[in-house]
Each structure stands twice: as C-alpha cells, then as structure tokens.
Amino acid sequence: MTYRTHALKALTAIVALVLMAGCGSGSTGGTSTGGNAGAPVHGGNLVFAAVQDAQSMNATTVFDNNSIWILEQIFQPLYTVTNNGKGEMPWLATGYKISANKKVYTFTLRPGVKFSNGKPMTSADVKFSIDQNRKAAKGWAYLDTAIKSVQDPTPGTVVINLKYPWAPILADLSLFANGIVPNNYGGQTEAQFYTHPIGTGPFKWDYWHKGSALKLVRNPFYWQKGKPYLNSVTWTDVPNQNTRELQLKGSQAQIDQTPAWSTVASLKSTQSVKMDLFNSTQTNYLAFNELRKPFQDVHVRRAISLAIDRNALVKAVLFGNGKPANSLFPPQVPFYDPSTPGYQFNLAAAKKQMAQSSVPHGFSTTLLIAAGNSDYLTIGTILQAELKPLGIKVNIQQLDPNTANADEQSLKYDMTLTLWTMDIPDPDELATFAVDPTSGARSFFTAYNNPLVVKDTHLAEKTLNTAKRQQLYNVVQTGAAQDAFMAFLYYSPYPYATTSNVHGFYVTPLGNMHMENVWLSK
C-alpha cells in the first residue's frame, strides 16, 4: 500500500539525514598521534574534563578543590610546593632572611613579575593579599594566625612579623589563599574582582559559564619566559566518569580527572591514552566517635583496627592502586615516620583486644556513610564481614552527603568513613586538625584527647630544628596509632588520564598542577 511506501521513504530519509549530520559536522576533536615528546611546542587549547564545576575564584574563602586547582593558575604565592610535596621553593619571592629571634622574615620579591594586565607586582600587592587572607574569618585565615603584621618597606621587599617562632610559616605562605592579587583589588570591590580575577599566574581569565565550562587563556606577561606553552585551558564540567573517559578516548578532552579505579588497568593499555597515578597525600580513615560507647574504650578501637584487612580494601576499592596506611600522616608529608606502628590486619590480636574490652562478646553499631559513594559502600560491606568474627554487627547507614557531613561534624555517629588531603607541605595543619580537641574540628570530629600528643603537636609548630621536629612528630604519629582514635585504612594516588599528545602534566602530592609546563604535541 502507498502509506507504507511513504513511511519507509520517510524513515530512510531521516536515517540518511542523521548520517549526513553526523559525518558532515566536522571532527569532534583531533586525533592523538602520540609520538616522541621532543621539545615543547607552543600553542594548542587543552580541555580538562573535570568532576565538577568550580564554586568560586576567591582564594581566601573557597574550600572546594576544583576551584582551588583552577585559581592556582591565576594567583601565585611567594613560595610554592616542591614537586615531591615535602617542601617549598621560591616562587614570587626569590629568598628570605630570618631574624635572630626567628620572628621576622624579610622576603625579596622576584623582579620583573607583572600581573596579567601588565602592571608590575610590588610589595604593596603582597601586603594587601596576605592581609586579606588574614581577615577571612570564614576562610583560610586560621592558617595565618601566627602572622602579627605584614610590612612593605620597599617595592621589592616584604617583611612578615610573627607572633612567635613558627616552623610552618613558609608552608602557610605557599597556600593558594596567600596568592598575590593587585593592591586594593585594583580599585574594585572584592566581589567584583573575583568575577574577573587578575593575577601573576601563567593564565588569565577568559570566561566562566557556570555548570558548563571555565576557560583561562595565556597570560602574555607571565614571568617565566617562554611559558605557558598552551594558548588556553578549558575546564569542562563532566560529572559522569564514564562520559569523561569517552571524551578522552574521543579526544574531545585531553585530561580526564579522576577516572574510575576499575578503568585504570584498561586505560593503561589503551594506545592513545596515558594513565598516571601521581603520589598524593590522600589518606582514608575509619573514624570512631569517642563520645559514644563503646568507642571510648581503646581496646575496642584497637580490635577493630586489627580486624581490618587493608590489602583487601586496596584490592576491592582501588583495584590494587594504593597501599595500606600505617600512620595518621601519609608518606608524602614531611616528617612521616614509616616505622609508625599503625595496626595492620591480625585477627588473633584483634580477638585478644576484644577480650580485654568492655564488650568482649561484641555489640551492634552503625557505620555512617554518604549515599551515592560506591567506594564507601564497598568499604562498609567489607567491614561488616571483617568485624563479624569479633561479634560486632555493623549496620550501614547511608545519608545524603550534606546530612552525613553535618552529622559527622556534630558527632552524631558511631563510626564513619573520612579522608584527608594536605593543603600545605607541612604536617601542622593535619596534626592540629586531627589530634587537638580544642581545634574547631574536635580532633577530626572524634573527640579524641591525648594530652601528650596534643602537647607535642603544638611544640612541633614552634620548633624550627628539623631533627627535633621529627622526634616530636614521631611521638604524635606513634601515640595516634597506638590510641587507634581512627583506623588508618589506605593511602591512594591521584589518578589522571591524558591523551598521549599531552606532555609535562604533573600533579604534586598536594594536588597542585603547574599548567604552564604542559604542552601538546601535534
């Protein structure tokens, strides 16, 4: 009949149109040819498929990692983290002198540094920037509490006066929140400035289509001659990890942030892709709320720590791409002690600890985790099985992430999974956060309190002698391990996949990326 013929013709026409539209609309990305690295090549626009959108470019108040790693391409501090994450190197300053009483640091600024609007950077800009961070009460000001005042005696010199000798001062100054902005925000209000921020970094502002893409373009006034190599970097918001992987394979994006652990092996064997696992400072923990029985009992905490097979967790969650944790500190943090006696799997020893505890026959408890976190659900399921021989029945409670976070921070949980990554190349921030019950975090929200550990943590802050600091932090790490206030689960790397034409891409253990070193081969 005629209707069928017309219908078939219509369908055929639609299919043909689709094929033409698909084929005729140009390529969706360049092909990755890989090939030899050779000398860096200038040019190219790199697309970075990110897990989520940035939130803000205000370095003094933002805590979101995606925002931080982007704004670090715009703003630079006086010192920056070394590639191994364990120290600081001169950046916008070239060096410093320290007074005899260790409370006055005189920094020499790097000559020839300009902002992306062409204006030279001076000490007035540095003073303004650090003072702004010191005032950010809802932000990162707490890391600058040791600073008494900042002075700008000459355009090329900055003097920082401390309230007391402070070992982590260079590490604190290397924090992105102490990045340098124009004095007085160049005449704008703070809010106006951060809609189109100006810095000394390798890239400058282009646009931000919220929820879609944020683009930075090359800063022509950048102080490192010949850099950056790229014309631009665009961070796209691609929340689905499968989509990010497909974009990478289709060369629509050149960097895939945090591919799934389950795909690492296959990405390593994909010809057009480079799969990197960068050393990180990320450590995962199982936290115990010592305000709730029976977790105030050290034998219970030790028993649980001893019953956890960390190798099994690494295999199940990270697909083998990590290692069991032995210390509160990760290996990439200065003063990490590899001999810290963090509890490792030993079921017989776990049972002995339980026998000595206040609940020798076991108990029921709840593990709080954020809903939608498949890694945490896997860990929780494994813990349920591993704690069963001790008579401990674990119920997994999944809550919306915001609610889980709120409950953790108000100590409305029995056990919960948590993690830490370093913001500065110094253990002070982590140690204070984790073991000091009077810090805002109440010992990582566990209510843990060991006065000796707290005392040594605060002593270490003001001890400039490296050997003595090491000794103090050894006590902190050993004490924290023996008290088992948290079960240290595993250390994991930062996984990043790039197309094979990306060169020079490196992520420090703190997560910083120097995109000025990245280039694309043809």
Binding site: K210, N240, Q252
Partner: protein
C-alpha cells in the same frame, strides 16, 4: 476570559503552592549549605558567619516572607554557592534543557509517525509485530545505558557526534544535542507509537476513510489530511504527559551527556542545600509543566474543530 487566559491564571495558585511546599521541605531536611562550602574546615564560628550572611539564622517564616517578597519583585534570591542571582543561573541553564526536550519530542515524532503508519497499515503482520516489539527495548533499557551505548558507538568510536556537551550556535546545538535527544526519544517513542497505532487503526476503519479512498484521494494526502490528523490527538495527550514527566527527569540525561541544564542544576543545588536555586528551579519546573499541558490542549483544539475550551 479565554481558555488560554484562564489556564495562565491557574499558574498563580500552582506557583504559590509549589513555593510553599518546596521552601519548607528543603529547609526542614537536615543539612547545612555552610557545611557544603566549608567542608571539613568548618568551625562553629565560620558556619555562624556564613549563616548570618545568608539570613539563615532568621525564623523560617520570616525567611519565607522575604523570599515571597523578593519573588513578587522578580528576584529569586542569590545562589549561596555561586554568589550570583539564582535567576541568572537558571536563565543560563534553561535553554539547554528546553533544547533537549523539544529536540527529543521532534525526533520522537519523526520516529513514531512513520513506524506507527507501517504498523497500522499491516495489522498483525510481521512489520506490525516488529514495530510493536522493537521500540519496547528502548522503553525497557535504562536511559543512561542507552545514552552510553550511543556515546560509545557514535561519539568515541565513530566520532560522528561529540561525546557530551551543548555546543555553541544553532548548528552546534543540533550536532551536540542529537545523541541526548535521541536517547530521550528512544524512551518516548514506544509509548507514542502504540498510542498512534491504536488510534490510526480506529480511524482507518472509519467510513469516511473508505469513502475518501473510493473517491480516489491519493495515499499520502489521504493519510496526512484524514488519517493522521484524526489519529494524532490521543498521541498528543500521551506526548504532553510524558514531556511533563521529562521536564523533571532530564537530570540523568544531563549528567550522562554533560549538558549544562536545569535538571543537573537542581540536583547539585539540592545536594549543596543551595536553597534559593532549588526554589527557583522548582518554580520554573512547575511553570513549564503547566505550559506544556496548555500547549498540548491548544494543539488538540487546533487539530479538532469539534473541541473548544472557551465557554
């Protein structure tokens, strides 16, 4: 007052009702946007500072009146996370979602009409069986799975289409949004095909069709002017209802295809407790559902002169 005017007036109580329900629901569930911003660095002091800045330490009723007052002046409030007007975020993201819905509806119609025609003109034959069975695969498969299959084949492997995104300009949007729209259309089409087939069968059996055929009206003209026009009315209702559900259900497709639409904005805002944006997006959703249903009714009336909604 005309039918359209009455229906548009209905928007007011719908919108008010929606704002009340959403406002109190989102504020009453546990969780704090200050914690989202501050994360593990939150201290009681910094939380208090942020909550004071945002007015969240005021009584709930007082916050609601403030919201309503601002709404009456066209102000949806400021996003707590992005610190820009909620209306700016919504207006930036709305076009992508509208593109997805309209494009999906068009593709669904383009697929459904010929297939329904093939099925209806060979009732119970092999073509009819295939047309009725095969699209059910699309209905049965999760949309995110269909999306990934299309992305893998046509995006990453064949590189005929981009792997996600929204594109720029008309041609860019048509190109980038084809796969996501097709994914949605594959889920919509089975329902529309079945509805259309059923009503076509009814119309094809009518006396006036037999008369028209015997008078020598050519096949395509007969089909378009007499069969389709009468058969499509129930299908429009089905399509309208499904699009209404789709408005709130775009989040999965937007997530898979990295489309910066309001579905994804809504989910992120709920997780982050970005109250002004949640309230604003919900209001937009409510308005869109009412408008889509109104459009369906108006299309109904334009196709069938017997239908009149004016008193």
């Amino acid at each position: 007052m005309s039918f359209v005017g009455r229906r548009l007036l209905q928007l007011v109580p719908v919108a008010v009702g929606v704002t009340i329900v959403v406002f109190f629901m989102i504020h009453l569930i546990p969780g704090d946007p200050a914690l989202t911003i501050l994360g593990i660095h939150a201290t009681p002091k910094s939380i208090a500072i942020l909550r004071h800045e945002w007015g969240l330490n005021r009584p709930l009723i007082s916050q609601y009146w403030l919201f309503l007052d601002r709404l009456l002046h066209g102000n949806l409030g400021q996003s707590l996370i992005y610190n820009v007007p909620a209306s700016t975020l919504i207006l930036q993201r709305l076009p992508a979602t509208i593109w997805l819905i309209v494009y999906a509806a068009v593709i669904a119609i383009l697929i459904s009409v010929p297939l329904a025609m093939i099925a209806a003109t060979r009732k119970d034959g092999i073509r009819d069986q295939v047309v009725r069975a095969v699209p059910l695969l699309g209905l049965g498969m999760p949309t995110f799975w269909v999306g990934f299959l299309l992305l893998t084949l046509f995006g990453a492997n064949l590189r005929w289409f981009p792997v996600g995104g929204y594109g720029t300009g008309l041609v860019g949007h048509l190109h980038y949004m084809f796969l996501p729209a097709l994914t949605v259309a594959i889920a919509l089409a089975p329902v529309v095909i079945r509805s259309l087939r059923a009503s076509m069968l009814t119309v094809l059996g009518a006396d006036y069709i037999t008369t028209a055929r015997s008078k020598g009206v050519p096949g395509l003209r007969l089909f378009v002017r007499h069969v389709l026009r009468n058969a499509v009315i129930p299908a429009i209702t089905v399509l309208g209802i499904n699009i209404g559900f789709l408005i709130g259900g775009t989040v999965i497709i937007e997530n898979v295809f990295a489309i910066p639409g309001i579905g994804q904005l809504m989910i992120n805002s709920i997780f982050q407790r970005d109250f002004p944006v949640v309230q604003g997006v919900t209001l937009v959703f409510a308005v869109m559902v009412v408008l889509v249903n109104l459009l369906a009714d108006m299309t109904y009336a334009s196709l069938d002169p017997r239908v009149s909604f004016d008193r």
